[in-house]
């Protein structure tokens, strides 16, 4: 056990976030795929409500996500954000970027080692070739692409135009169906893109990374092992990290937080020197709430894959760091009540550091964009999570009941992450947290993520993971 009186810090060198805008893949999200099969007429309605890249780029929450707007500023921006677009918004962010669909198709082609995806050559050369990296793309005449789609391959469109096909790898193995492989490959390439971005931004040699941990939301495997995994290794390869080994960490939405703790532990123990924690986007979650967006005359807002990559290494002086000695989990016997979760993930680990709930300058919780969730009746998720922490502070006599709103406003923020599952779960705030810690605006941030394990039908339990960030004031 760690000596509870000595801080244990792991350095966070940097983070990059990407939003890959894939409007023509929304139809392959889990909910749209099912609904469009049941009611094909919905497809035309859905198509009418898809945003173009410019609109996705100028969407305020996306600009916050890539680092161009501080989360605190979101409160002051006029709403609805999908109407009041940000003038002069760029796809390049201070710690991330937006990737357009044509580039994504190029990345898919370049990362495809099993001849799964093919494109129509003329379209590809005109629109995507400039972004080609990795393997040479497979070209097929349009008639053959159409033929493949008629036989079950997934059609890849660029607006109305059919430009490619994504095939299955096996006629009978459900784990190698086209939908599954597209989901997995999309996760791989979006994560690899974020990893390349962060290495570039930090002027790091890819060879310096000796371990990659992926915490994406997918199941890579075959019928004998549906979740075999280690997408991390594939991501490391794609990003050119030749000296890296890797493995996956899976814990539903709390995956990234656990991955950070594991990565930090590898460094603390000396097993690794420079660790990349990465996650690709979730294709399955595209268009999850599209029906409510259509019903409310909104654009389909779940049209982006969210990915990130963090580089961890030994703590340097004055650097924002993860306090590994603050890592906290939610044990089996704790039970699902919000009070128990807040105690195990916030109150107890803080107490071990000699801190109270009110000694935390900022909390990063489930940061789902409320503009996406409210129209479907799912509520404002960050707000509920912040109020839970505030309520515990009231019960402990640290603040008055009438100070709860203030607690939420000063220590919390509006949600801005796309509903990509693992991405909103605290980790999305890391970029801004590093900024705020470097500038001295805040002294610390407590990151708290939750995982809905019950969704997998193996346990009724919820789950969670948390840790504190502060500066290495040495």
């Amino acid at each position: 056990m760690l000596d509870s009186t000595k801080p244990v810090r792991i350095g966070i060198e940097g983070v990059s976030y990407s939003l890959t805008h894939v409007p023509d893949l929304v139809r392959f999200g889990s909910k749209p795929l099912r609904e469009l099969r049941a009611q094909p007429a919905l497809g035309a309605e859905l198509a009418k409500r898809l945003r173009d890249f410019a609109a996705a780029t100028a969407y305020a929450p996306h600009q916050v996500y890539i680092g161009n707007i501080a989360p605190e500023k979101l409160r002051d921006l006029p709403r609805p954000w999908y109407e009041k677009l940000i003038e002069g918004a760029t796809a390049q962010g201070r710690f991330g970027d937006l990737v357009d669909q044509a580039k994504f198709y190029a990345l898919l082609a370049g990362a495809d080692q099993f001849n799964l995806v093919s494109f129509e050559e003329k379209w590809f050369q005109a629109q995507a070739a400039a972004h080609s990296i990795g393997r040479a793309p497979r070209f097929k005449p349009l008639s053959e692409i159409q033929n493949l789609c008629d036989k079950g391959a997934l059609p890849l469109h660029s607006a109305d135009q059919l430009v490619g096909a994504f095939e299955s790898a096996h006629e009978e193995d459900a784990s190698l169906a086209a939908e599954v492989l597209l989901e997995n490959l999309a996760g791989k390439v979006s994560a690899a893109h974020s990893l390349r971005l962060v290495l570039d931004s930090l002027n790091l040699n890819p060879d310096d990374i000796d371990f990659v941990i992926s915490c994406s939301e997918e199941a890579v495997g075959d019928r004998y092992n549906r979740g075999g995994g280690n997408l991390a290794k594939a991501i490391a390869e794609d990003a050119g990290c030749g000296n890296a080994a890797g493995c996956d960490v899976k814990a539903f939405c709390a995956g990234p937080m656990y991955a950070m703790v594991h990565g930090a532990s590898l460094i603390q123990s000396g097993v690794a020197r420079k660790v990349a924690v990465v996650a690709g986007g979730s294709l399955a979650k595209l268009g999850m709430k599209f029906e409510s967006h259509l019903k409310n005359n909104m654009p389909v807002l779940e049209d982006v894959l969210g990915s990130f990559a963090v580089i961890l290494s030994s703590a340097m002086p004055n650097q924002p760091c993860m306090r590994l000695d603050s890592a906290a989990f939610h044990p089996v016997r704790a039970g699902a009540a919000p009070q128990a979760m807040a105690e195990y993930l916030a109150e107890k680990p803080l107490a071990r550091l000699g801190m109270k709930l009110t000694d935390v300058d900022r909390y990063a919780v489930e940061l789902h964009n409320p503009e996406i969730t409210v129209p479907s009746g799912s509520g404002d998720v960050p707000r509920t999570n912040y109020l839970t922490l505030a309520a515990l502070a009231v019960m402990r006599g640290l603040i008055e009941k009438n100070e709860m709103t203030d607690f939420v406003r000063t220590r919390g923020m509006l949600g801005y992450a796309p509903t990509q599952g693992h991405i909103p779960s605290a980790i999305v705030y890391l970029g801004h947290a590093l900024d705020a810690l470097r500038s001295g605006t805040i002294r610390n941030v407590l990151f708290i993520a939750k995982g809905s394990l019950f969704l997998g039908r193996m346990t009724q339990l919820s789950d969670g993971c948390s840790f504190l960030l502060d500066r290495n004031e040495l």
Binding site: A337, Q339, A342, V374, G377, D380, A390, M395
Partner: protein, 104 residues
């Protein structure tokens, strides 16, 4: 309400008779509660789930409504529900659910 849970409720209504059942919710916000209530009273308002067009008329409560809270032993209430009662604004939900119950 997700389709799987709608299906289970339908099955339980067949098994026990809807007049012998009560649904108790734990929603964090009023946003969405009305749809939940309508789903098990009048039927799935989206007409998409197993309870589409099926009017079970099962009364719906929220666990934090006074009618439910007053029946929960004090120690359990304090340990499991007190914090939620500070977080969740029950008044709007109570009005929505009471109106739903009166319609049955």
């Amino acid at each position: 309400m997700n389709f799987e849970n709608q299906g289970v409720i339908k099955r339980l209504a067949d098994q026990y008779g809807p007049e012998n059942l009560t649904v108790v919710l734990g929603n964090g916000e009023a946003n969405g509660v009305e749809v939940f209530a309508e789903t098990v009273t009048e039927g799935d308002p989206s007409y998409a789930g197993p309870l589409a067009g099926v009017a079970l008329k099962i009364p719906v409560y929220h666990v934090l409504e006074e009618e439910v809270m007053s029946q929960v032993p004090e120690s359990l209430r304090e340990e499991k529900l007190q914090l939620s009662s500070l977080v969740i604004e029950i008044e709007t939900m109570h009005q929505v659910l009471e109106a739903s119950r009166e319609k049955i």
